[in-house]
Symmetry: C2
Subunit: 987 residues, 2 copies
């Protein structure tokens, strides 16, 4: 399917965005639009060859560094893109020579950005150039680039320079100090460190050229390591240049530059890596895709918005969150707002709960920052930062400083007054828990967030004796046009709601996990007195609600402000605050974004106070016309779309939806250059699912009550709810009624499958509920068995004991002491001698494993680990070895593993189940949710003894007791594996 936007240069296809014209005026906004990434990093769509006005940018999650005024920002990381092409002495660049054909494509199905052009050089050579790039979703540390060159009409000499540019900058500021750089036989590497936060980055790159004779040279220009090559290209023959880059930071690993070098050394070729990336994306889209028919622009654009959220989503990191402008631009400096929890999170909670968990756990890891903020302002508990970064401390700038010499400083009050986000975070914690049923996370993380933020509220509210009521004075509500108000209804009701939930969670914890409840009571100074205070606040917090009409006053005195008719200001292209001025906007009944309506939206799923249909209609009629929905906040339109859909206002709903949907693709607000509007993208998902899909959550699961836009003939998506997947295929009855303008008429739709839901396609229940894999190390992931054998052999030789490979077979999965016993047999040694021999063997072994690299991983291991992680399955290593941690570090898989259980962890060795039971516990799983992968008899026995599934690697005579027996991990995939488990769950 295919659509051409009138008067624009974009073509939208199902999964593909095509730009047909290069316009340097749009360089920066398109730089945002063509951002790619993999949840670890985001790279803006800048040009490989550079551009005089270009601002290349790559942001890596969590790599913040100090900066004046705004405290900290995501550092623009060294640029991995530079690829310079010189054709017969002319450097290829878009602003010289002549571009004869041009096309840029972003394929969101696999995160692949490409550019094809035919270029005539200033000296007249015509050449076809095709660029591609991707950031691998299969391995987040791998970046791939390809460039194909085809001279059109005559041979020419081509020089290629592939570089890492260490001079990346944040609007002029370069956060990086170069530490070192160099060449390897594989290519070049760069080691840099942020100036303030001292985060180290290691990058390595290599280039291969096929189709021409080329010798590579390496240059040592400081900060700009470069591989170059010159060759002759024959007319009409294509030369392919592949550049592969690896990147690590000290956030994941101790020696990032070594990790980058080692990973680079073992990389497959571009095509293989791209295939792995595509497979990883297929998995993700199976869950997250939304399929729309009848509206090709929306069909693509919804996927585009989801893509932009997915590439900014931390798949493997729970210490970061998604910034307001994702990882795609400099706007808001990479700071995290309520945008994440309220606007972005639901998309993940319902389709990628592992990511949602990471995002929320970020708030747990940053709770001490929230406590410092509360303490600074003289309050208790956790007062979450309005803008948050690595530590959770408040990083909202105090000032908007003027550029001109005598301009006034403008004080930004959000850090002090926009406090509702502590309740918003609690809302998201609660929602995640309700949707996933993840009690363990609630016990270990969520409860502490929710309760300590509740403690903040009890110190923040003020008791008004005269009115016998609690008040929250001097705040900014969701609507930021009013900067100092008392008893904002959104804030007050969210606080009340938060305290209601705090009481429930505290009770739940005490009943189900009394030990954890006691821990938190001690840590947070939770008392029953405090709980009573919460109850009192819940009862007496003031809310300005007219029960006869349902009308809510936005804050105390709002209705006394000057009224406004926004129509009087049309046409306009500026916000009402810009038009009226900050002071004046405070005096009017004009909203930047939904406030009372936002509250109603959040209370709608549970139909809690003050939500009801009448209240929604009344407040919509009052507030919607007074909201600066066009140029106020980009957070507004998607929410208005949903509420309008609820109210049957389908024209308005669709208008608002498109406004949010195209905010970046069509640069509707003129600031796409600052980065993707993440909250708007998250709002899009909610608008489709909750607005047009009309999804409501019942105890029996989600049900649909759709209001599809008139042109939509079908809407398909799937949701994950309390451990099950629900697939929705909503389609309009017949195809006659496609016109717009049918107004508020309630649409008749066939819901297929009708509620209750049928099982979705991926993953297919009722396979056993497998959530964790425990891998033995030796003989399974790596052949350290070989090193053990060599060490034992050396010891045996020294002691004159007969020993060989065959004898060694008996030692698989056997502890060190037991192995030695088997070797010495009935020979007599004192305990001291035995101790010494064990120590000696271990010394030999430790020496040997120093040379382990990721090349020692057995075939298939890395692919399976990656696939399992993508699938959200937890991974532990369960090894009897006391050197397991060293081996895992050396293998370079430490970041793929959630827990390591080794010889130090338990007393009884395999075949006792202790080791694996401990591993399951570490993963937070039940034994029957775990699969053990073993190559030893004792190991398989241990697994079975522990009540786990077992996969045995090796001959049946050794591992035949396992549920599944395989020769090795080579070619093994989880997709296939899970179909082999018995169809009856164990529980």
């Amino acid at each position: 399917m295919n659509t051409q936007c009138p008067s624009r240069d974009f073509i939208y296809q199902d999964w593909i965005l095509t730009e047909t014209k290069f316009n340097p005026e749009q360089l920066h906004s398109r730089g945002t639009v063509f951002t790619i990434g993999n949840g670890y990093l985001g790279t803006r769509g800048s040009l490989e060859e550079g551009h005089a006005r270009g601002v290349p940018a790559t942001f890596i999650h969590g790599v913040y560094d100090d900066v004046p005024v705004v405290y900290t920002e995501l550092a623009n990381c060294p640029d991995w893109l530079p690829l310079m092409i010189v054709i017969n002495g002319d450097r290829f660049r878009m602003d010289e020579g002549e571009v004869l054909q041009y096309e840029r494509r972003l394929d969101v199905s696999q995160g692949l950005l490409s550019r094809s052009l035919r270029w005539r050089s200033p000296s007249g050579k015509i050449i076809d150039i095709h660029f591609e790039r991707f950031a691998s979703l299969a391995d987040q540390h791998i970046l791939g680039q390809r460039c194909q060159l085809t001279p059109h009409d005559s041979d020419c000499t081509i020089e290629i320079q592939a570089s890492i540019n260490g001079y990346a900058e944040n609007q002029g500021f370069n956060h990086w100090e170069g530490l070192d750089q160099g060449k390897t036989n594989q290519g070049v590497w760069l080691q840099s460190r942020t100036r303030g936060s001292q985060i180290e980055i290691g990058m390595a790159a290599k280039m291969t050229i096929s189709g021409a004779e080329a010798t590579l040279q390496v240059s040592i220009v400081p900060g700009y390591p470069t591989i170059s090559a010159s060759f002759v290209a024959t007319s009409q023959q294509t030369i392919t240049v592949e550049k592969l880059v690896t990147v690590f930071t000290s956030r994941e690993i101790n020696q990032p530059v070594t990790a980058a070098q080692e990973k680079l050394a073992q990389l497959s070729d571009y095509t293989t890596l791209l295939t792995a990336n595509k497979q990883a994306w297929d998995e993700v889209w199976q869950k997250s895709d939304i399929h729309i028919e009848g509206d090709p622009t929306a069909a693509f654009a919804v996927r585009y918005n989801l893509f932009q959220l997915l590439i900014a989503a931390p798949f493997h990191d729970d210490k970061v969150s998604i910034p307001a402008k994702t990882l795609s631009g400099f706007g808001y400096r990479g700071h995290v707002f309520w945008d994440t929890e309220i606007f972005i999170l639901p998309c993940f909670t319902f389709t990628q709960p592992a990511i949602a968990k990471n995002l929320l756990t970020y708030r747990y890891h940053t709770i001490n920052g929230a406590r410092r903020k509360a303490n600074h302002y003289g309050f208790k508990g956790a007062m979450y930062a309005w803008e948050s970064a690595d530590t959770g401390d408040e990083v909202t700038p105090r000032w908007a400083l003027p550029d001109d010499y005598y301009g006034e400083d403008v004080r930004i009050w959000c850090r002090d007054r926009e406090i509702h986000n502590s309740a918003d975070i609690a809302y998201a914690v609660w929602q995640y828990w309700q949707v996933t049923g993840d009690d363990e996370w609630m016990r270990d993380y969520g409860a502490e967030i929710l309760l300590d933020a509740a403690i903040f509220w009890s110190s923040r509210v003020e008791y008004n004796k005269q009115g016998d009521r609690y008040e929250i004075r001097g705040v900014i509500g969701a609507d930021e046009y009013h900067e100092f108000v008392h008893n904002n209804s959104f804030t007050n009701r969210m606080v009340q709601w938060h305290l209601e939930k705090a009481v429930k969670v505290y009770d739940w914890l005490g009943r189900n996990f009394p030990e954890q409840a006691r821990k938190l009571e001690d840590k947070l100074e939770l008392t029953s007195e405090l709980e009573r205070r919460w109850q009192d606040i819940i009862k007496k917090i003031c809310l300005f609600y007219d029960s006869s009409t349902g009308l809510i006053e936005q804050f105390e005195g709002f209705f006394q402000l000057k009224d406004i008719n926004l129509q009087d200001y049309e046409p306009r292209q500026r916000s009402m605050q810009t038009i009226l001025g900050i002071e004046e906007a405070n005096q009017y009944q004009v909203l930047k974004q939904p406030d009372v309506l936002m509250l109603l939206y959040l209370m709608r799923p549970s139909a809690e106070f003050p939500y009801n249909e009448k209240a929604l209609a009344t407040n919509w009629n009052y507030y919607a016309p007074r909201t600066d929905i066009t140029y106020g906040s980009s957070l507004g339109p998607a929410i208005h779309a949903i509420l309008a859909a609820d109210l049957g206002k389908s024209t308005t709903a669709y208008e608002r939806f498109i406004q949010a949907l195209m905010v970046d693709l069509e640069d509707r607000r003129g600031n796409a250059n600052d980065g993707i509007h993440g909250a708007s993208a998250g709002g899009i998902w909610q608008a489709v699912i909750f607005g047009f899909g009309g999804i409501q959550l019942t105890e029996q699961g989600p049900i649909a009550n759709p209001h599809l836009p008139p042109t939509w003939t079908s809407l398909k998506f799937q949701l994950h709810w309390r451990g099950h997947w629900y697939q929705f295929d909503l389609s309009r009855e017949g195809t006659g009624d496609r016109g717009l303008g049918t107004g508020d008429r309630r649409q008749e739709l066939i819901i297929s499958p009708p509620s209750p839901p049928s099982p979705p396609t991926p993953p297919s229940p009722p396979t056993p509920d497998i959530r964790g894999f425990i891998f033995d190390l030796d003989g399974v992931l790596t052949d350290t068995a070989e090193y053990h054998y060599q060490a034992w052999q050396k010891l045996a030789d020294e002691e004159g004991i007969p020993f060989n490979r065959q004898a060694n077979e008996a030692l698989r999965g056997v502890s060190r002491r037991a192995s030695l016993m088997l070797i010495i047999g009935d020979r007599t040694y004192s305990e001291a001698q035995i101790e010494e021999m064990m120590e000696r063997k271990n010394r030999y072994y430790v020496e040997l494993i120093q040379h382990i690299t990721s090349q020692d991983l057995l075939p298939g291991a890395i692919a399976l680990l990656n696939e399992l992680r993508q699938a959200g399955i937890k991974i532990a290593i369960g090894s009897g070895s006391k050197n397991a941690k060293t081996v895992i570090e050396r293998l370079g898989i430490a970041d793929k593993v959630d827990a390591i259980v080794d010889g130090y962890s338990v007393q009884k060795p395999k075949p006792a189940p202790d080791l694996f039971l401990y591993a399951a516990h570490q993963l937070g799983l039940q034994p029957q949710q775990c699969v053990v992968v073993e190559d030893a008899k004792a190991g398989v026995e241990a697994a079975k003894a522990g009540g786990m599934w077992a996969i045995g690697l090796g001959p049946v005579e050794r591992v035949g007791a396992a549920d599944i027996v395989l020769p090795s991990l080579a070619g093994v995939t989880w997709a296939e594996l899970r179909t082999k488990f018995p169809q009856t769950a164990k529980r």
Copy 2:
């Protein structure tokens, strides 16, 4: 002479500083100490090969760019130093391999920085490496580097990379956007532009290698143009690498990158350029040197401080001034304070008046900024910025923002309250005028500064009706520990003094230059009423002066503050403000720096109120013990040294002197890394001349009343005063009394020569008072005569008129029309035909001169122009050609010329004197102060007819009427030339 500081690694010789040990801990402070420059730029002493913690920096005068919080800063310009050396694969660096021998030397007699070392590479090669660098004082756009390499014990392969690094940064911020770069057959070039201020820079570099076979290669790495070469070096043989760099900015020339390329193309070799640089320095030191005997450390260190001021001094630019940290560091962002006028300027006023004039004229060019500041604060006239940069607008930051999340912002009040500098600037204007007698400058520039700042004061003072007095409330005085005081004595008396002088200048202007007086009356709204108000303020401004004791209260209520005994806080290494806190320091009688004593110091030369010997002693005894002279302001010690010398407190005087003298060399305040303490360096000159030399200015000239420190056996220097040079050679009688500790005993010294002064050695009066040179263009500076000839020849050929080179000789110095008349002789043409032929010839000529470059300058021209400029002699071009401006631009000498008078300027051609008279007028000189250089008879006649000196170039039969006849300018120097003029002045 030679001295070794105990426990330090510096050796001080007469002109040479030697560092004997490399200590990476001192990298940054030594980076400041080893700054070189040429008054156009300053380059910090960073290492050619780079260093992980290195911060290379080159600042060019006036190249400011926008930056948050502090508005603007001097942009660190692209680094011209990078020179990488790879020896058998090992990159030379100080932090790897082994440094076997090391020495770094700065020769301040010629601004040459060198470094010699013997290095063992990690792989064991031993090599001697010698680096040199200088920024040419003979041509400010030329930078030279040399590197000599001598393998010690075996042959090795060496790779050299010479680069320009376009990624220079200001503490992380890179102000430059790369525009373009490329290679020429000479080397590489780079074109960049500042982001905000849009100043363009063009740099070009070339490298030559002698002593080995090497082919140069050029790399196109973006922003880092690089020339590289590989060669084999033979053991014990020296290979010399020379790197020459040219630099221009759009502040001087329209197309800086073209200018840099062209200049690079015509450069002589390193040795020739270094010689020219040395000659230029010799000239400067002839005037500015201070020669001390008996105290080798002081002997060198005084020269060192002068050197640091000279390299920051704008020899050729009157739109810039010397920043507080000169051009040597990032401290204070290149902003200009009162430091320049009060501390630094006297050194120039008395030894390099042309530079002093430039510095003060900067305040004229920035007066509109001062007017905007006054207007912003609701005042009239010119309120000079406390911190000033390119526009004169106030650029003092408003805030010291905290690094930590919850720290308090500290408001910096200097922009609002430290207002005394408008009077300080007036003081410097007056002093310059008094010392130089430069009435023209006072008329055209100084008067407007002084009068408009006086107008500011009359709007700033407040009339206190009750006391019938004027007050200045709410200020910060010279002492910045007190941030909000009323009637600061320093400020109030300086304002009174300023208004006294304003009245005088206004009267003087009216009497001597009534036209200029009327112009200023119109422009500034000067009225006699205003003058009466000034008189009233002078009479009634309040000053807290006890006439019985001479004690002055620093401000209203100072004596009521808590007293302090600074001894109670010893030992300490922090300022009293840091110890007490900002608020608390305000409550104590503790001074950051002299305030009342500063006032007495400034009133001392003229012995004006409140200065007298008794008042000095009284106030010294009160304020000196209460001044934080060690860790307060670096502006204090030199002033205290002078006053202590006055009071006969020689031990204190010398202590304070050394404290100022060694502030950077010994990093006494721990902040040398921020840049040279410019005010302290300027204070050193004043301490030597006015303190130890005891110079007093009388109507008969300066006289000495020396108080030499005990160890000093001789002190020699020279001063320029009212058009004459005075040389001082002060020596102690006998040599017995050298010990310190003789206390306050007045020293008996022989003053030789005694007052009145004898003529100084350079320059030697009474040569005629020559202040300007007017050069004919054709045949004198360039051979455009040849192009004229070619154009005439072509025309003549087309017209069939006989013409040849011999006939052309008759056209020298003849106008276009007259030339044509000579050519056509008695042939008959209509006026229309004549017009057409003139136009045609000119077209041919204009076409021809498009190809002129600086290579078309005749031998000796550029050297003489440079020498004249160094000597402060003004330069005009007086050419009958109507294309003179184009030719001068193409020759690249536009920036050396003060005025161009061409065929458009006057009606009557040579031999009428009009053209040269007009040129003299443009230079602001009398005819008898000018020398005309001509190659034509008519030109020499014109010069003589105008009453000017004439130098004729060519045969006596042509130019014999000139005062001096020379074959050409080749080898001609001003030093020699001036001795040839008749010994009787014309006036």
